[in-house]
Structure formats: structure tokens, C-alpha cells
């Protein structure tokens, strides 16, 4: 057992003990290390001003990804190398050259007030990192930049000059972080610590805080059994926000991010198996060819920073009726494997939810894995996310439709799930039943839409009015009809 965390920041080794372990990473770098280049705007993962690169050991490399430092905790950084905006040019003095990304931002007027700029620079620098630690082979084009920067808000520039800055950068000029820092030496040092679970207790503001970061699921289950009120943390993209807004500041934390095997994602025999701690980035990678429609929805999930931290287990257990993964998991008949004091059990995802954020999950239980039977050839899958803004927005309404058409265009079966229309994600059983055996026509789907609208109980909230959600539920089935048609050349999709 270790009583401290081991991490590097901009190549500097830090052993973190006591209450500092429970700080957010942004507060830690700004207040403890006085690296104030990292900015805090929203403290909820929505603006990217706090973006830093986190290098996690993967094989013989440190694999760097941008994350929002405002909503992750120092304890999650155990065994990592964090690079902040100050760390892009180690040892630089005032008149030394800038990092190529910084240089391009200066030259192309990519900053105005400058408050978003460090975050933009880090997200862009991160986009030049590669799996093998070499130079990115091709420049970033406008599309790649739009994807890479979808989690960074800028109120001043209107982004165009930022895109121009990014496009201008010759990738061969961008030093991979593996070349800027002694990667192997850091890896060796971090690996020494990684074998042991970390356990830290501290007192902050009169409150006792306790952290346990196990290496195996067994250790985790044992700890959870003895600390049923411990807050489980995976990516902390939900928990970090709740912490910062003072909604949930747990005193005991069980950090699953270092549990071996819990982040694995594998597909075999038509089943996709995702460890609870698998991030959306990892799931996005594997589904690109496997289930392109699910992949597409994942590209609309939060931002790169959020997807690099957020996990499927967290999404499921957080249990929001507008969680983007759920409609897909509902129509594919996914199951979760739950590990607890009493052993393991499997539950169909549709049966996991009992009410608004009420789960069939005992205090001593953890979600270990999610299994998804993949859609088969001949089945049509469409997923929908409606939000106020296309990128980086929480859904107002979600839906999934999975269908199989029989001979003569008759609906053999159709599964319909919707989110944001009730306290939990719904399968529309009555609508599904009515659809069975009917001809797949616009008229049928229009009528099904009316039925669907009666099967739901949406509310009015900050994201939209009930009547809007009802109208979306009606329309989405007609939209599905059009989406399922073979696309004429040049059609808008």
C-alpha cells in the first residue's frame, strides 16, 4: 500500500500526500505549483480553458490525451505525466522560440483576449501527438481541427483564425512530447509505483477524506463492501462537476481508474464487451468500423477532453435519462455485469433503472462490464441526439431505432428507445407492438409517431419544453423512415 501518489508535471517529479491528493488537477497546478497558464472558466468541463495533456503509460510509451483539468482530481493522475501550457517549451526563456502551435496562434491572430488560448493551444498540441511517439504524418485540416477543438470555447475570435493557425502548422516541426521529456526514465519510475494500490487519508476543512485506488476488481469489491458509502470514481466527468458545484463532496473515494483490465474493450462472436472503465475515446475507436452509427453518436458525446476521461460505466451508473449511450444499449438488448460482495450477476440494461437516477445496484456493488450483442446484417440502426448546439451539448432528446424488415417491406420487428421523455430511458413497447407486421411506409411511421407521443411523459426544463420533446418523439420515427431509404446522390444527411 502506498500513502502517496506519484506523478510528473512538466517533467518534474511530485509525490503527493495528504489533502492535495483530493484537489482538482486545475487547482493543484494553479495554486500549488503556481502554473497559472491553465485557466478556469466554468469548472464543469464545458469550455476547455483548463485543458492539459495527460500522459498515461501504455506499453512502452506515455500516451498523451487532452483532458479538462477542472473536473479531474489529483488522485486520478497517479502514475501519469501531466503537461501544462508552460510545459510545451521546457526551459524556455523570454525570447526563446515558441512551440510551433503557439507560434502559429500568434502569427494568425488566433488569440484576442487570450483567456481561452492556453486551452486551445493544449488541445491543438494534443492533436499532433501520435500513438507511436513520432511526428504526425499529415497536417491538421479544418475538419480535424473542428473535431479536436470541439471542447474549447472561444468567445472572441469566432474560431476562423484559430483554424487557420492550426492548418498552417507543419507537423514535422512539432516536437512529440516523447522527445521533449525523458519518457523512458519517467515510465520506469512510474511503473515502480503503479504496482501498488494507493491509499491516502487526509483532513481538509475539518473533514476527513479517504482515498483507495485498487489495482484489481477484487480489491475494489472488498473495499466497497466495507465502505458502502464510498463514492466510486472512474473518469469523474460527472462527479467532478458535482464536486465543484458543491452538490456532492464525498469523504470516501474509491477510484477505479487503475483497476487492471477494467478499461478493456473487445469484440468477439458478435458481442461487444466493454469494461466499466473503458473511456468513450477507446469505445469510439473500436466502434468506428464495428457499429458506425454508435461511433457517430460517440463523436457527438461531450468533447475530446470529456471522451478521454468519461467512461461507459460512469454513464450507465450516473443514470441520467439523457445519457447518450442508453438508447443504443436499450435497443441492442445490452447487459451489465455487476460485481458485489455476493459475487457477480448480470442484468439486462432495460431492467437496471427503477426511477429517476434510481438503479438496481446495491451499495456494495460495482458495474464491471457491459455486453452488447451487435446489430446483425440486415438490421437497420439509427441513433438520434437532439441538442441545442450540435457539439458539446447535453441532449434534449435521444432515440434509438433498430429494425428488421421482412419481405415486401413489412416490418418484422422494430425496437424503439427514447431518452429525455421520462424519468428513465424508455423502450416504447406499445408502439413497437403496433409496428410489428405493418408495411414500412411514411404513413405507418407517422401513425407510430402519434402512438409514441402518447407513450411518453416528457417534462419542461431548461433544455426544452415538454411539447417540443413530444413533437420530436413523433417526428423522429418519420425521420427514421427517410433515413432508412437508400440515399439519392447529393442528398443531405
Amino acid at each position: 500500500m502506498r500513502d502517496h501518489l506519484l506523478l510528473y508535471v512538466n517533467g518534474q517529479r511530485h509525490e503527493v500526500r495528504g489533502a492535495d491528493a483530493f484537489l482538482t488537477l486545475a487547482d493543484f497546478v494553479r495554486e500549488r505549483l503556481r502554473l497559472t497558464g491553465t485557466k478556469i472558466v466554468c469548472a464543469e468541463g464545458d469550455c476547455g480553458a483548463c485543458t492539459v495533456l495527460v500522459g498515461r503509460p501504455r506499453g512502452r510509451r506515455l500516451h498523451y490525451l487532452p483532458v479538462d483539468s477542472c473536473i479531474c482530481f489529483v488522485y486520478q493522475m497517479d502514475g501519469c505525466h501531466i503537461v501544462t501550457v508552460e510545459g510545451l517549451t521546457p526551459g524556455r526563456r523570454e525570447n526563446d522560440p515558441l512551440h510551433p502551435v503557439q507560434e502559429a496562434m500568434v502569427r494568425h491572430h488566433g488569440s484576442q483576449c487570450g483567456f481561452c488560448t492556453p486551452g486551445i493551444v493544449m488541445a491543438m498540441a494534443g492533436a499532433f501527438e501520435t500513438d507511436d511517439g513520432r511526428h504526425r504524418p499529415e497536417p491538421l485540416d479544418a475538419d480535424a481541427l473542428r473535431r479536436a477543438l470541439s471542447g474549447n470555447l472561444c468567445r472572441c475570435t469566432g474560431y476562423v483564425q484559430i483554424i487557420e493557425a492550426g492548418e498552417s502548422i507543419d507537423p514535422a516541426s512539432v516536437p512529440p512530447l516523447a522527445q521533449l521529456y525523458p519518457e523512458q526514465a519517467m515510465l520506469a519510475d512510474l511503473a515502480g509505483a503503479a504496482a501498488q494500490p494507493a491509499a491516502i487519508s487526509a483532513v481538509r476543512g475539518g473533514q476527513t477524506m479517504e482515498l483507495f485506488a485498487p489495482r484489481t476488481l477484487e480489491e475494489a469489491v472488498v473495499f466497497k463492501a466495507s465502505h458502502p458509502d464510498a463514492a466510486v470514481v472512474c473518469g469523474a466527468t460527472d462527479l467532478g462537476v458535482q464536486h465543484n458545484k458543491g452538490l456532492r463532496v464525498p469523504s470516501v473515494v474509491l477510484d477505479l481508474s487503475h483497476v487492471e483490465g477494467l478499461s478493456d474493450v473487445v469484440a468477439a462472436d458478435g458481442v461487444l464487451r466493454m469494461g466499466a472503465a473503458a473511456t468513450w475515446t477507446a469505445i469510439g475507436d473500436i466502434t468506428e468500423d464495428l457499429v458506425p452509427e454508435f461511433h457517430r453518436i460517440i463523436t457527438l458525446f461531450g468533447s475530446p477532453q470529456i471522451r478521454n476521461a468519461g467512461t461507459i460505466g460512469g454513464n450507465i451508473v450516473n443514470g441520467s435519462p439523457i445519457a447518450d449511450s442508453l438508447p443504443f444499449l436499450f435497443v441492442t438488448h445490452a447487459e451489465v455485469e455487476i460485481a458485489g460482495g455476493a459475487g457477480r450477476r448480470r442484468v439486462a440494461l432495460t431492467r437496471l433503472y427503477r426511477g429517476y437516477k434510481q438503479l438496481d445496484l446495491a451499495p456494495d456493488e460495482l458495474v464491471a462490464e457491459v455486453r452488447v450483442p451487435l446489430p446483425r446484417r440486415g438490421e437497420i440502426l439509427r441513433l438520434y441526439k437532439v441538442s441545442k448546439r450540435r457539439d458539446m451539448d447535453i441532449s434534449t432528446f435521444t432515440a434509438a431505432v433498430l429494425a428488421r424488415l421482412g419481405d415486401g417491406g413489412v416490418i418484422e420487428w422494430m425496437r424503439v428507445a427514447m431518452g429525455g421523455v421520462a424519468p428513465v430511458v424508455l423502450r416504447l413497447a406499445r408502439t413497437e407492438q403496433w409496428l410489428e407486421g405493418r408495411p414500412f411506409t411514411e404513413e405507418t411511421m407517422r401513425e407510430a409517431g402519434h402512438l409514441a407521443a402518447q407513450e411518453i411523459s416528457p417534462i419542461t426544463d431548461v433544455r426544452g419544453e415538454a411539447r417540443y420533446r413530444r413533437r420530436l418523439a413523433e417526428n423522429i420515427l418519420v425521420k427514421f423512415y427517410h433515413d432508412a431509404q437508400p440515399a439519392p446522390a447529393g442528398a443531405v444527411r
Binding site: 472558466v41 517549451t89 503557439q102 496562434m105 487570450g114
Partner: protein, 787 residues
């Protein structure tokens, strides 16, 4: 080589990109510094009976909790109407209003204490909407009127009439750096305040008021802001006063940095506007008479609301000649945070109204809206007087329209849009071109002044400071270019100092797009004065050294050197000359002052010439709407502006693009949602959606009419900060245009913002009106049935 006219990088760009340019929150902690937080009112309206701080004061680390009773000076401020307390003493006026200030050793201690302060408030029913305020007769300032001719008669006798109601919602400034200040107590009760403010003089004044000091005992410094957009023109005052009060009471430095949620919940925003109108027009869509009645939601206190309403009224014509017109405006008092300046300052609300009226006229007549706009456009030599009597001089709008119509391929694309809408069952496209004619100058005449302090140091380097504050708009960069050119120096030889009331006094806010105009001119005047003295000295020196007879008029400053044009080989380094000047006791410092030559506007009569010139332009947007979800995509924008001769094309291009995208947010995704207590529900970027990078149109062509026709302003440039924001109205009108196709060619009512939700609901309306029988006859009913 001159620097002006070149796209040199922002003078803080390297600091921005490396994270080394500090903002208030980044400044190192001072010894003994306290953290400042506040207790917001949970209710919008009620008598404040007691503030119970006992329990909160027991939290370890809490040093003081201050309320209105602890304000030693005057507890009232307001730059136009003095009606706002720093802290309420007897009644709360909006949800989120700061009621008590907490000073603590740490952020965490302050946060804990905040939850323990108990407010005893006798709740009273709030007035939240324009309608409720009108019904209750709650207004701020008088009802204003600008009129020409006989609007009522012209409307009555027009061949076609339309009447209706149009609304535009508020908008959060969403500067990334939230309100922040540090107060440092000095000797003999003096106070130094670092503030993220667009208006250091105002901070100096309010801190002096609140502390009972003279302005001479307070210094305010602003190095930079992480964005302002109008939101820090007046509303930096309360946070600065919070820090100053704590510093005064504890004798310790105090820092306040609001969280984004607190900032959004507590500060004012762009005003929501309601426009009721009646318009009469001919078969071509030419407006014959227009009557417009504006109401804005001012919030609880006056702030700048009356000036904002004035600018809205002065922009109700936008680019169009209105022969018979009556414009009235009234600010409503409600129990929301006091609404305030936001880029455009009422202009966007006025422009959105007239552009929407023209769009509806076109739909009503079944004409292309561009043709309707064109027949109404201000002329070059006739039909070029505004409703308030100012002539639109040097009007380039007709040229801009012609050029943009051609370069955007408007006609071809109009046909493509028609064809697409006739065949697509899933989507609709819309296309619209709108204009902007933005009046440059504060409409309050006395604010049109600037001062600058220029110091040439004996090593030949230059420090300059002005009253302009740097919020990202690049004003310091432009001033640096202008000053370097005045002395023929490299940019590196000039530093623009932080804005400080120690150097620049009695300044106006950096606002109204006039920062570079006013302060740049003042700086250049100061340079000219110094240069004159240096030229005299140099001329004497050249003559003594065997050169031509001393004639300062022949002395030139270029490429870091000074010479007489008649004998260019005899040169002095600028630094050498600075040294000589010092030894010869020549004054190398000067203060420059500029007062814009203006006739001014008379608010009582609604007539005058408030503006020095207009910045104009036009833009075309093409949008795609999903018929099933209302999902909106802005596919293409072409934009053309006359911003004169640019001091810095890189900076100006950034202003144009940034302003446009900000305006696009206002008309599309940015929606303020309030609860029944007037509490803002969309109080963070999770629920309040400003444009992200993915919203930038895939095709976005930005062009300017490069010209040096504007002799009225420095470098023949034109102000650029606000006008491009108003061009984003074209996106909204393009959505309206798309909806028309779903309504069999009728106008479809839609308000700003056109969220996906609003669009989908409007599509329902469009479907209904498509099925309704089309009325014959000339008069078309109000789209929303307003009598």
C-alpha cells in the same frame, strides 16, 4: 517602414499563447490576502428584514461579513440614473443580487460561510416580464420618441399594410474571465484596485463613493480583461467595491473572482426587446410609413438601459430610408439583474426588428427579400436622411449590395434553394441578405473624448498609455503601431502600459467601438507634440553640425533615425536624439487629448447628428433546417464591410469574424431561461450555448472594401468592434426565409433566438398557415394577431 496597415500580432499574443499573460486570478497572492465571496439574494423582490451572520462568522477562517451598514460612503451608484445600491439595505431587487460580502482566509472557508448566512426577506411578488412591467406602469426613464413626417397617415393610405410583434431575447456576454478585482489598502485610507473593467475611471469613482473618499485617493489599474463585450462597462463596479470594502475593513489586500455561475446569475445581459409595429408599403415593398414601439426589459436598476434604448431607436432605420416614421422607446423596470451593455448596445435589437419587418414584407408580396431591401436602401445623394435628421454621407451601401450579390452568387443560389425546397421531404433551405449601418460615437456627447500620455525615454524607447482598456480587441496593438509610426520606430521600441487612472484621467469607458478612434487620436496628438519639440532640437543640431539651416518642418522620423529631408545622409539615431533632447532640457513627455467634433443629438426632440460617421456592410447567409427536429445548420456566409483603411487587418478581421459569430449565437442557440423567481436557469455553459467551433459556417467568406475615404477618423480607418455583430441577423432572416417555403410563401412568425426548438414549433405554425386559405386583398393580418 510604417507598421500601421499591417497585420502585426496582438501585443500580448505571445503571453496568451504561453499562458504567461496574467489576469486578475493569476496574480501572485499578496501577503495576508483575503478571499472575497458574497451571499446572493434567493428572491427577486422583498423587504430585507435581517441578515443573520452569527453562524457563518463561526466558520474557521472567516474574517468578516459585511452588509450595507458597513459601507462608509454613499451606497448608491449609476452613471446615467443614480438608483442602484452596492448592497441592498432595505429591499432586495433581483434574484442573485449580492446582499452580504464574505471575507475569508480561503476560498473554501468563504464558500462554507456563504451557505450559513441567513437572509430574512419578506417576499413580495416580482415583476419579471415586459408585459407585467407595462401593466404595473414600472418604467426606467421617460418614453422617448424619434419621428419624421406622418407615419399614421402614410400607413393608412398605403396599398399594403402589415402589423405585428417581434421579440429578441437577451444575451449573456460570456466573457471567459468572470468579474474579478483585487483591492490593496494604501496609506492614509487610500486604495489601489486592480479590476477587470472596461471603465477604470468609473471604478475609481464608485470605489471612492463607497468608501467615502475623494477620487484622488483611489487608483484603478486594468492590465487586460479576458473579454468584456460590454459586460464590464458598468458591472465591474460591484465586485471591485466588494474587494475595496473588505480591504478597507480589514486593512488587508482582498481578491474577488466570481465563479462563472455566480457571474451569470448576478450580472445583467443584453436587453430583451419587444417591438410592436405597423408598416405600410407599396407593391415593390417600398416602406411608405412605419410606426415602431420598442420596450426593453431593463431589469431592476437603470444601469445603461436608457442609452441602450436610444441606440436601438437610432438603429431602427438600419440601412433603409423611412419617409414617414415614428419610433418610440420605453425601458421597463423588472426584478431581473440590471441589464447592461453588450456589443452593439441596442443596435442589434433595432436592426433585427427592421430586417424582420422587411423579410415579412417580402414574403407577403411574394418577392425576393433582397429586392425589397434594395428599394428601401439609403440613397447616395437622395433618400439619405435618417429619421433623426443626420445625413448618411459617403454612402457605400448600394455598392456593397451590388458587389455582395455578385460575389455571393445570390441569384443562382436563390434558384437552387427554391428547387431544393420543392423536392426535399426532409430539409429546408433559406437564404437572406441583411445590412448594417452602425453609427460611430457615443450618443451621449460628452463621452466622446480620449486622453493619452506619451513618454519618450532618454534611451529612445517610448511608453504610452491611454484610457483605452484592452479586452482582446487589440486596441493597444493599434495604438502601439500608430505611436511607433509617429516616431519612425520599430514596434519593439514602444510599450503600451496598463490602463491606470494614475496616468489617464476622467476617461470614458472603452465602448461604442470607439476605443481606437478616441485614444489612438489622442496618442497621435501627444506624439506630434513631442515630435515637434524633438524636431526643433534636431534641426538646431543638424545646422550646428554643418547641415542645412534649422527648419523643424523639414525634419523626418523614419526607420529609427531622424534627418532633414534636404540632407538625408546626415542622420541621428532616434535614441541619440532623445539623449540630446534630455541634455538640452527638451520636454519628452506629452499628454494628448481628443474630443470628437460632433453636432450631437437632442434626446428631447429626437433630432440631431449623433454620429461622426457610419460603419456599413452586408452579409448573406444560407441555412439548412431539418424538418423533423428543427436542427439548424448555417452552411455558408458571405460578408462584405466598409471598415475604411485598416490600422491592423489581422486584428480587424478577427473583430469582424468574432463579432459575426457572437451575433450568430444571439440569433440561434443562446437562450436565457428563467425560473418563476427570476432566477437564471441557464447559468453556465452546460445549458447556455454560445457558438462552438463546429457552428462556424463551412463556407465563410469575409471581405472588406479597402478604401481611405473616411477622412474623419485616424488613418482613415473605421470602427469595427460592434458593427459585424449586427450582420448575423442575416442568419435569422435566412431561417425565416426557409420557413416561408413551408408556409406556402407566407411570413412565419419567429423570434430571436431561433433555437432548434423554436424552429420546429414555427414549422408547425407554417404547416397550419399553409393549409389555411390565403386571404385575398391587400391587407395581410398580423402574424401573431396583435390588434
Amino acid at each position: 517602414m510604417p507598421h500601421s496597415g499591417k497585420p502585426v500580432p496582438h501585443d500580448s499574443a505571445r503571453g496568451h499563447a504561453t499562458g504567461t499573460a496574467p489576469y486578475i486570478a493569476d496574480l501572485p497572492a499578496l501577503a495576508g490576502e483575503l478571499w472575497v465571496d458574497y451571499v446572493p439574494s434567493p428572491l427577486p423582490n422583498g423587504l430585507l428584514r435581517r441578515v443573520d451572520t452569527d453562524e457563518a462568522l463561526r466558520v474557521s477562517g472567516v474574517v468578516a461579513i459585511l452588509t450595507a451598514a458597513d459601507i462608509p460612503g454613499r451606497n448608491r451608484f449609476g452613471s446615467i440614473i443614480c438608483d442602484e445600491p452596492f448592497l441592498p439595505s432595505d429591499r432586495v431587487s433581483y434574484t442573485g443580487q449580492p446582499v452580504a460580502i464574505i471575507a475569508a482566509e480561503s476560498r473554501e472557508a468563504a464558500r462554507r460561510a456563504r451557505a450559513l448566512v441567513r437572509l430574512d426577506i419578506a417576499a413580495e411578488p416580482p415583476v419579471l416580464t415586459i408585459e407585467e412591467a407595462c401593466a404595473a406602469g414600472l418604467f426606467i426613464g421617460p418614453r422617448r420618441r424619434i419621428a419624421r413626417g406622418d407615419a399614421a397617415a402614410a400607413i393608412a393610405s398605403a396599398p399594403h399594410r402589415l402589423e405585428g410583434e417581434f421579440r429578441s431575447g437577451g444575451q449573456e456576454q460570456f466573457y471567459l474571465e468572470s468579474q474579478a478585482a483585487i483591492a490593496i489598502p494604501g496609506e492614509q485610507g487610500q486604495m489601489v484596485v486592480h479590476s477587470s473593467t472596461q471603465n477604470p475611471t468609473e471604478i475609481q469613482a464608485v470605489v471612492a463613493e463607497a468608501l467615502g473618499l475623494g477620487m484622488h485617493e483611489v487608483v484603478c489599474i486594468c492590465r487586460r480583461m479576458g473579454g468584456g463585450f460590454g459586460g464590464k462597462e458598468t458591472q465591474a463596479a460591484i465586485p471591485a467595491v466588494m474587494a475595496a470594502l473588505v480591504a478597507r475593513h480589514t486593512g488587508r489586500p482582498a481578491r474577488v473572482v466570481w465563479s462563472k455561475d455566480d457571474d451569470m446569475k448576478t450580472t445583467g445581459k443584453r436587453h430583451e426587446f419587444r417591438t410592436r409595429y405597423r408598416v405600410g408599403f407599396d407593391d415593390d415593398g417600398r416602406v411608405l410609413g412605419l410606426s415602431i414601439e420598442f420596450h426593453s426589459n431593463g431589469g431592476a436598476f437603470a444601469d445603461l438601459s436608457t442609452a441602450i434604448m436610444e441606440r436601438a431607436m437610432l438603429h431602427a432605420d438600419n440601412a433603409y430610408y423611412l419617409p414617414h416614421v415614428e419610433i418610440t422607446g420605453q425601458v421597463c423596470r423588472t426584478h431581473l439583474p440590471p441589464n447592461t451593455a453588450f456589443r452593439g448596445f441596442g443596435g442589434p435589437q433595432g436592426v433585427a426588428a427592421i430586417e424582420t419587418i422587411l423579410e415579412d414584407i417580402a414574403a407577403t408580396l411574394g418577392r425576393d427579400a433582397l429586392a425589397v431591401r434594395r428599394v428601401n436602401l439609403y440613397g447616395v445623394s437622395e433618400r439619405n436622411t435618417t429619421p433623426y435628421g443626420q445625413t448618411v454621407e459617403g454612402n457605400l451601401l448600394p455598392r456593397i449590395f451590388d458587389e455582395l450579390e455578385r460575389t455571393s452568387d445570390y441569384a443562382t443560389r436563390r434558384r437552387a434553394v427554391q428547387q431544393f425546397n420543392a423536392t426535399s421531404r426532409t430539409h429546408l433551405r433559406g437564404l437572406a441578405m441583411t445590412a448594417v449601418k452602425f453609427g460611430i460615437s457615443f450618443t451621449t456627447k460628452f463621452l466622446n473624448q480620449g486622453n493619452a500620455l506619451v513618454s519618450v525615454l532618454m534611451d529612445g524607447t517610448v511608453q504610452v498609455s491611454t484610457g483605452a482598456t484592452e479586452m482582446g480587441q487589440g486596441v493597444n496593438t493599434k495604438i502601439r503601431q500608430l505611436v511607433a509610426d509617429e516616431f519612425g520606430l520599430p514596434l519593439e521600441a514602444v510599450v503600451v502600459l496598463p490602463t491606470s487612472t494614475e496616468r489617464n484621467i476622467n476617461t470614458s469607458p472603452t465602448a461604442a467601438s470607439a476605443g481606437a478612434d478616441l485614444n489612438g487620436t489622442a496618442a497621435v496628438r501627444a506624439c506630434a507634440e513631442i515630435r515637434g519639440r524633438m524636431a526643433e532640437c534636431a534641426a538646431r543640431h543638424f545646422e550646428a553640425a554643418g547641415g542645412p539651416s534649422a527648419d523643424p518642418a523639414q525634419v523626418r522620423f523614419a526607420d529609427g533615425a531622424v534627418f532633414d529631408v534636404r540632407n538625408p545622409d546626415q542622420r541621428l539615431d532616434f535614441s541619440e536624439l532623445a539623449g540630446i533632447c534630455r541634455r538640452e532640457r527638451v520636454d519628452l513627455g506629452a499628454r494628448g487629448f481628443y474630443a470628437t467634433p460632433l453636432a450631437g443629438f437632442d434626446r428631447e426632440s429626437g433630432q440631431g447628428a449623433p454620429f461622426l460617421y457610419y460603419t456599413t456592410g452586408a452579409a448573406v447567409a444560407e441555412v439548412l433546417v431539418d424538418r423533423f427536429t428543427g436542427d439548424l445548420t448555417v452552411e455558408r456566409v458571405d460578408l462584405l464591410m466598409d471598415i475604411g483603411r485598416m490600422i491592423n487587418p489581422g486584428v480587424d478581421r478577427g473583430q469582424v469574424i468574432g463579432g459575426f459569430i457572437q451575433g450568430m449565437g444571439w440569433v440561434t442557440t443562446e437562450q436565457l431561461v428563467y425560473g418563476a423567481r427570476g432566477e437564471l436557469l441557464s447559468h453556465s455553459p452546460t445549458t447556455y450555448k454560445i457558438p462552438s467551433i463546429g457552428d462556424v459556417p463551412r463556407i465563410f467568406r469575409v471581405a472588406v472594401l479597402d478604401n481611405d475615404l473616411n477622412k474623419r477618423n485616424i488613418f482613415s480607418s473605421k470602427a469595427v468592434g460592434e458593427p459585424p455583430l449586427l450582420l448575423a441577423v442575416c442568419v435569422f432572416e435566412a431561417v425565416k426565409n426557409a420557413l416561408t417555403y413551408a408556409a406556402a410563401g407566407r411570413p412565419v412568425p419567429l423570434f430571436i433566438p431561433a433555437t432548434n426548438e423554436a424552429i420546429l414549433m414555427a414549422l408547425d405554425e407554417a404547416a397550419k398557415s399553409r393549409n389555411a386559405p390565403k386571404e385575398s386583398g391587400v391587407a395581410v393580418e398580423s402574424p401573431v394577431g396583435v390588434p
